[in-house]
Symmetry: C4
Subunit: 233 residues, 4 copies
Amino acid sequence: MNRFRSIIESCDTRWGRLFDLAIQSLIVLSLITFSIETLPNLSEDARRWLRYIEIVTVIIFTLEYLLRLMIADRRLRFAFSFFGIIDLLSILPFYLATGVDLRSIRAFRLLRLFRAFKLVRYSRAIRRFHRALHIAREELVLYALVTLLLLYFSAVGIYYCENEAQPDVFASVFDALWWATCTLTTVGYGDVYPITAGGRVFTFFVLLIGLGIVAVPAGLVASALSKARELED
Amino acid sequence: MNRFRSIIESCDTRWGRLFDLAIQSLIVLSLITFSIETLPNLSEDARRWLRYIEIVTVIIFTLEYLLRLMIADRRLRFAFSFFGIIDLLSILPFYLATGVDLRSIRAFRLLRLFRAFKLVRYSRAIRRFHRALHIAREELVLYALVTLLLLYFSAVGIYYCENEAQPDVFASVFDALWWATCTLTTVGYGDVYPITAGGRVFTFFVLLIGLGIVAVPAGLVASALSKARELED
Amino acid sequence: MNRFRSIIESCDTRWGRLFDLAIQSLIVLSLITFSIETLPNLSEDARRWLRYIEIVTVIIFTLEYLLRLMIADRRLRFAFSFFGIIDLLSILPFYLATGVDLRSIRAFRLLRLFRAFKLVRYSRAIRRFHRALHIAREELVLYALVTLLLLYFSAVGIYYCENEAQPDVFASVFDALWWATCTLTTVGYGDVYPITAGGRVFTFFVLLIGLGIVAVPAGLVASALSKARELED
Amino acid sequence: MNRFRSIIESCDTRWGRLFDLAIQSLIVLSLITFSIETLPNLSEDARRWLRYIEIVTVIIFTLEYLLRLMIADRRLRFAFSFFGIIDLLSILPFYLATGVDLRSIRAFRLLRLFRAFKLVRYSRAIRRFHRALHIAREELVLYALVTLLLLYFSAVGIYYCENEAQPDVFASVFDALWWATCTLTTVGYGDVYPITAGGRVFTFFVLLIGLGIVAVPAGLVASALSKARELED
């Protein structure tokens, strides 16, 4: 029992590391097979193989879940902990899918993606990232607010500039919000852009101010991360 | 009277916080209803409901404005203060719209957006942002200047490179300025881009230099914000 | 004579500031009129007015140039200094244009833009920027080199990935270089992009590595500017 | 012999610097001629000249390689060192191409590009960059992981949002991954973008979170580089 516990719950021993590595590889494998399954013109043969891999994966994940449940000091507490629920959600849809109508499987498939969250479980490195987020928390919230306000004002402004010239593209403030999102993040797909002189001048000023706002959080996180590293030393 | 004052003007007491929260929620609600109103194919029913919400919102904002005016030590001073004017502008268009020709309402609608500025009023967090802007003020002004010069030179350069090959797209220096804005901010909608070899080589050099200039202000604001946080401690 | 010198050469006295402001405004005015002149469908009337403004501007700049030359301690030295040459180049094309065939004026027009460099002359603030560039000089040169290498390798890679699938778009390594420029600067006009699976995977890796390289110089300049400010204190 | 060694292996003496400069120029020249060769409509004459330059370049590089091999203290060790292999790979394809079927030369051409790596050999400045990468190593690996996870979740999310509306564009999770790459790096070519309301709202949230993640590594490298410079002093 203690042997099991050291293998499954810690990654300090040799077998613990091997177990972790195997589970992580399986998670990645299941993510890849899921992606392949979405390809439109798969042969029947390929579909069958993907199904086999899926079954094996789910069986292993189920065994792992049961082991973790068995080992846990307080079983109910584990079952309702964040990772306990994630673990369950990553296998449950499979069993439900076989019992329920097959067409409804599509909706449940989305849940199967929660399996990927298991990757989070095994990586210790994310802790430092959490600390950095905590340091810059207030500024990030503030910037989220300022960015949202800026997005809203940009959208309303461009709506009044462009609605008459392009009634289909800038049909409402919501379409204008899509434009504001694409523009202020500098993605600029090119599906929505101003064509009037007024709209272009407005875009010019929005970008001049906006870039000094939208691009700042990345710098904040970077400096917070260096601080988190210093605090660790 | 003092009771009222503590509720409306401060957000330290329980009722003050509740009052603030209610007003802020109402502002957000009115921003959302305004956005929905711009949707092109709204049913008569939806329009009527939006109108009802608008009326209730304006009544509450009017009561709030009158309360604030009543409570203020120097009423005239409040009426002509920044927020006094914003408060008034956020309700006035509604009353004017009913008295004036209905078609002219469209122009006044833009003013109704000033209502959003009320959001600024209630958020304390923006103060720190102001301080950061003050620290990096000189550099930001300098960069705004350098950026404007760069935009102008890029525009003139691309105009001479591309005008002959694309006389409709790069029709004048103003069209070229639009290109320069989209390119140096890396938005790149794809509505205007160089096609000649000369124009592409020019773009290459402009971007090589330009990115080292246009992207800097965000870094300046980020470092200024960390300084502002240090000064706060 | 000393009176003149203090007005023209320094901006500490009241008249010196006024003189500077007037010349700067005139430079901006002449830049704007130049831009308006490039508009395709100008009326004869507008053209005539632009011509008048141009003549007055050149006369004032000529007087200013002669005054500066007269005042200078070593006249030849001033005439061949950087700003002496810029000052001359900003007025000379006008006089040459009237003597020479009018159609050749188009080529000389480009030189008229050097007038804008005069803006540089009057702004003290750019000095600090120069210092920052000096601090980060080595890193910036290194990054320019690394960026150029990355651009070249990306271009060759995408050329081999996409040339067969899109022989017109990725016709040569030079076209691929244009793609690399647009992609690594994240401008992404959308005129050139990979369509094959190989090209997309290649782009994915190039961007993953490239963004960590191309976006760094802006951060370097930002930190160098804060250092330059600290050194100033 | 010692004379030779000082010229070829060091760049402290005058002749050593000259030799280095000559080889570097030749490398750049051969990179340019390679690029020109890919142009689709080259005349027979131009092709012949490019061939001549290629032959001369390869002969000089061969002589250089033999000299380096001759001079080396441990010849086998040099031959199998990183730069020894690069040096060989940059000349070998030429000799193989003449012996083998000419059509297969196209595949070998890619290898000829390794020649460019020789540029790396001669630049001392890259060492500092290596140190900076070492400092920020852990954070960069962490960010690469977080970015990959984010790309995957964004891709799956947009696949479920857009697959029904645009079955050709978002045909599978792999196409969605291409969209995620273009969007989160803010390249935004405009070949793939969401059109449904759900897809746009999803994109909005992905960008809000994603930009705070994808843009951070550049800031990390920038701060690591300043640290590397401080450590050097």
